[in-house]
Amino acid sequence: MTLSIFELIGFGPHGWGLPLLTAASITLAAAVSGFALGSLLGVIGAALKLSRSRILRAAGTFYTTVFRGIPEILIVYLFYFGGSVAFTKVMNMSGFPGFFSLPAFAIGVLAVGIVSGAYQTEAYRAGFLRLDRGQIEAGLSCGMSDFLLLRRIIAPQALRFALPALGNVWQSVLKETALLSVIGLTELLRQSITAAGSTREPLLFYGVAAAMFFIIGRLTGSLLSRTEKRLARPWSR
């Protein structure tokens, strides 16, 4: 029995529509969580790189050099195999024999987050460096504490300056989640591999995966650029 394209990617009994949509939501969830983790690491990384202490600066540079210079797939393998080896050791020591592996989603988010954190570090750092130094001095001379200065002066402006670069990082995070198919996470690509294998229609299903990645990227991209324009309002006259 041969099915038409619409039956194959539709929502009927032989259609892959629902599994693919579910997988797309997992892709989106992994990308959003990875990006959020990366933001946290990026802020810490930027603080390290801008610090007065030479050791902290070196630590920040080490982080960004290593995680931007090594292929992402290797880092995914590191966390996948390294994580399960460490977890198995812990479990064996606490009296549970056998082999244990960690959930692919958590591993994937960790790997994607750490890599994107290295790129976000540069975005936040550049955003901070574009700040008008005079404003920080003005804040200090008004008697603002460090935290108040950060909240009122630094964060709102540095974030707005960093936003275009962060948008680029988001796009690459979204595409990087495709690598998580190799550790068995049922995201878009993994689901398409399954579908392509069982229907023998690789062209169709990888095409659909590509299209869905493209659409998610486009939609989130336009959302980001709208936010960018709105946040830019105080600077445009």
Binding site: T65, V66, G69, I70, P71, E72, I73, L74, Y77, L78, F81, G82, V85, Q171, K175, E176, T177, A178, L179, S181, V182, L189, S192, I193, A196, E201, P202, L203, Y206, G207, A209, A210, F213, F214, G217, R218
Partner: protein, 231 residues
């Protein structure tokens, strides 16, 4: 305790994959660069159809994951009926050529965007100055536009070269045993994850360092005439 014997053994095994990694990067970059000139020319053309094709190429290859592109080419192309009978099939059947094709198409889109940005960054005043000296067409491009654009785009292209080197690691997923493919085999057979990762990471970091060093040397050579501005 570090097991130096194991580390040197890993290093030696990884080195056997290095030629393939370098070859894939060089082939993809060479083919991709040639293609990117066409794409950039199409995207900047005054014919609407060419412009549309060029922009679609850039958007599609930049907007989808490289791994999906590799899968589409490696597993998908065989489904096209005419292709299996054509003279291209002996190439497209091989994972090596599929990887080169996917990487080249991918980098051509990014490079076309770099070329576009570099050309846009040429100051209008310089072009006007050239025109007022009576230069036009190819002469203007050869003497004014291209030399300035190359200097503008060089640093960004350097990071694209590094991205391509890293991207060749995805070829391991379609069975090519380049550096990452070997690292994967070593990890899954020995389960000494940290050690293998450290050696492989150091190898890639050395390569990326050498690439960025090469580009900064070229850049300072090209910008010799600006050297006095630094002091």
């Amino acid at each position: 305790m570090m097991d130096w014997n194991f580390l040197t053994d890993v290093f030696q095994q990884l080195l056997t994959g290095l030629p393939l990694t370098l070859q894939l990067s060089a082939m993809a970059l060479a083919v991709g660069f040639a293609l990117s000139i066409l794409v950039a020319a199409a995207a900047g053309s005054s014919f609407r159809l060419f412009r549309w094709i060029g922009n679609a190429h850039i958007e599609l290859f930049r907007g989808t994951p490289l791994l999906v592109q590799i899968f589409l080419i490696y597993y998908g192309l065989g489904q096209i009926p005419g292709l299996r009978q054509s003279f291209l099939w002996p190439f497209l059947r091989e994972p090596y050529w599929c990887a080169v094709l996917a990487l080249a198409l991918n980098t051509s889109a990014y490079t076309a965007e770099i070329i576009r940005g570099a050309l846009q960054a040429v100051p209008l005043g310089e072009i006007e100055a050239g025109r007022s000296c009576g230069m036009s067409g190819l002469l203007l491009r050869r003497r004014v536009v291209w030399p300035i654009a190359v200097r503008q785009g060089l640093a960004v292209y350097g990071s694209e070269v590094i991205l391509m080197l890293k991207a060749t690691s995805l070829a391991s997923i379609i069975t090519l045993t380049e550096v990452t493919g070997i690292a994967y085999k070593l990890i899954s057979s020995s389960y000494r994850v940290m050690e293998v990762f450290a050696v492989t990471g150091a190898l890639y970091l050395t390569l990326t360092f050498l690439i960025s060093l090469a580009f900064s040397v070229i850049e300072s050579r090209l910008n010799k005439h600006l050297a006095y501005r630094r002091n």
